[in-house]
């Protein structure tokens, strides 16, 4: 169970998740310290290990930069819940082992205590005592996520299976 940070905004693009000027690094903590700073300058300070980020439609649109989900994960976020995700972000998040889940209708507010069941596509709001139905993920993605990301998936399988 973890705390939700809700930004009910559509089209949060990769430039707002991690501006291009900060992406030229392989240093995870440097990425984490700037995550979402143009949207909320205090986000990196507020978020605790395991917390959940909640956003509106088309989260992660824009560039293909994998630094976007990496920065979110490095900041401590355990799951991103959005109404919809941009295609590349969705795929990148799963490849680097950051669970993402699409929930069209919910009533989550910042501070609510949330848990997520990815396999069954269920999000539970413990503060409000509600559950929300999520879009079910393709099995290929669940397999990659269960392996901990695409790197581990390929180490385990040696190829796409």
């Amino acid at each position: 169970m973890t705390t939700a940070h809700v930004y009910p905004v559509d089209n949060i693009d990769t430039d707002r998740i991690i501006p291009g000027k900060y992406t030229k690094t392989l240093d995870m903590s440097a990425l984490a310290s700037h995550v979402l700073e143009d949207l909320d300058p205090d986000f990196a300070k507020k978020v605790h290990q395991g917390d959940i980020l909640v956003a509106g439609n088309n989260f992660g649109c824009g560039s293909s930069r994998e630094q976007a989900p990496i920065a979110i994960k490095a900041a401590g976020v355990s799951v991103v819940v959005a109404k919809t995700f941009a295609r590349i972000f969705y795929r990148n998040a799963i490849n680097i082992g950051l669970p993402v889940i699409e929930v069209e209708h919910h009533n989550i507010q910042s501070g609510d205590s949330i848990s997520v069941d990815l396999e069954n596509g269920i999000v539970t709001n413990h503060t409000k005592n509600e559950t929300y139905q999520a879009t079910k993920m393709p099995q290929q993605m669940i397999d990659i996520l269960n392996a901990g990301g695409l790197v581990n998936y390929l180490i385990q399988h040696g190829d796409y299976v």
Binding site: K24, L26, N58, G62, I88, P138, L150
Partner: protein, 417 residues
């Protein structure tokens, strides 16, 4: 996995379904999950370092095919600081070790180089670790943008997995008015569909307007299908003029589309995307007179020879006064062609500043970041807040001719003949 004979004779297919079927070794339809062989991959200095790291983590010792892997140093090129310099060095070392192709500083923007050097060809399924990989749809190729880890997996295996997209068909009819370009057309379409209007889907562009377009114009259109969230944007190959022989892939007459849109574009005005979204598009008339301090002609959308010609036509014999104009030709080849035909001289005489062929100001990495409160008119594809490196700047998008005319007037202006 066994790759069977090509499934070219399967009916009811979109261009995407046909190309993916050929690469999956079996007929596929929208919604299917397919494991496909990939014809080529590329990564840039923004994505290759992570891809190299992931490749090594996967236990990668050699590439699946050195001829099919390209690395490009274009996003922050030449290196603006020591961190980036070391990432560039890492790419050079990796390419030397693995024996794969590397385009170093100044060669040009990744997508231009892939097309110009025929590393991607019609009918290919190509993966780029860059969101504008749909540009290759101009060539009738299935290009998709992926992240670094996906790319690393293909560098290792030569394959990827994907969900076969549904397709939106856009038919464009009518001759564009003078001064209205492919860029105006695609800005108009981004407005019509919205930035997530084609999310997870492919777009096919067809119709009379498209069939008579140059490769450069087709590239501008396919390029910005990314701005609709599209997985890829495929242009009807009718009229496609290339310097090598190729076999076109057409959609079947009875192909199934999720949406079909038809537009008569004969009365289209020049289009401008206002800050801070490429869907925030209006007819130029609404923003005429907006003062601009900085004009940029660059990016994989619009800095090919025809774009430089359009700018030179506006600026020939004129002199910039209040507004600075920066130009980054899409490749060294384009720069050289424009040098030989006198275009560079005209633009330089007018007061334009030329910078390294590459991304630079488009992605805000260096070579021309706008100041606080400054207004920019740019020929690029994105104007998200902070995109050009400063969230306090206002970025407007337009065609190269509009950018040149606005630079000259110091305010958003329509090019006149």
């Amino acid at each position: 996995m066994v790759y069977g004979p090509s499934s070219k004779n399967t009916m009811n297919q979109t261009i995407s379904e046909k190309i993916i079927s050929q690469h999956a070794g079996k007929p596929v339809k929208a919604g299917d999950i397919a494991i496909v062989r990939v014809d080529g991959v590329m990564a840039t200095d923004a994505t290759a370092p992570f891809a190299i790291k992931a490749f090594r983590q996967m236990g990668g010792k050699k590439l699946w095919d050195v001829e099919r892997v390209s690395l490009i140093i274009d996003h922050a090129s030449p290196a603006p600081n020591e961190t980036v310099a070391n990432l560039h060095k890492l790419m050079r070392d990796f390419s030397a070790e693995m024996g794969c192709r590397l385009y170093d500083i100044g060669e040009g923007i990744c997508h231009q180089l892939m097309v110009e050097n025929a590393h991607v060809k019609p009918g290919d399924l190509f993966l780029g670790a860059d969101s504008h990989t749909p540009t290759y749809g101009a060539l009738n190729a299935f290009g998709i943008g992926v992240g670094s880890t996906d790319l690393a997996a293909t560098m290792l295996t030569g394959k990827t997995w994907l969900k076969v997209p549904k397709t939106i068909k856009i038919t464009l009819n009518g001759a564009l008015k003078k001064g209205v370009t492919a860029k105006d057309l695609i800005l108009f379409l981004v407005k019509e569909l919205g930035v997530e209007g084609a999310n997870y889907q492919a777009v096919e562009f067809t119709g009379e307007t498209i069939k008579s377009m140059t490769l450069a114009s087709r590239m501008a259109i396919a390029n910005m299908s990314s701005e609709m969230g599209a997985k890829t944007g495929l242009v009807d190959p009718t009229g496609l003029d290339l310097w090598y022989p190729f076999e076109p892939t057409f959609a079947d007459n009875d192909a199934e589309y999720v949406r079909e849109l038809t537009f008569d574009v004969s009365s289209l005005r020049p289009q401008i995307a206002k800050p801070h979204s490429p869907e925030n598009v209006v007819d130029i008339d609404e923003v005429l007179g907006t003062k601009v301090q900085y004009a940029f002609i660059g990016s994989c959308t619009n800095t090919r020879l025809e774009d430089l010609h359009a700018a030179a036509q506006v600026l020939n014999g004129k002199k910039l006064t209040s507004t600075r104009l920066i130009i980054a030709p899409a490749s060294k080849k384009i720069f050289n062609d424009a040098l030989k035909d006198g275009t560079i001289q005209i633009l330089s005489d007018a007061g334009a500043t030329f910078i390294t062929s590459g991304c630079g100001p488009c992605v805000g990495s260096h070579l021309g970041v706008p100041g606080d409160g400054e207004v920019v008119i740019s020929s690029t594809n994105r104007n998200f807040q902070g995109r050009m490196g400063n969230p306090k700047a206002q970025v407007y998008l337009g065609s190269p001719a509009v950018v040149a005319a606005s630079a000259l007037a110091g305010e958003i202006t329509e090019p006149t003949e």
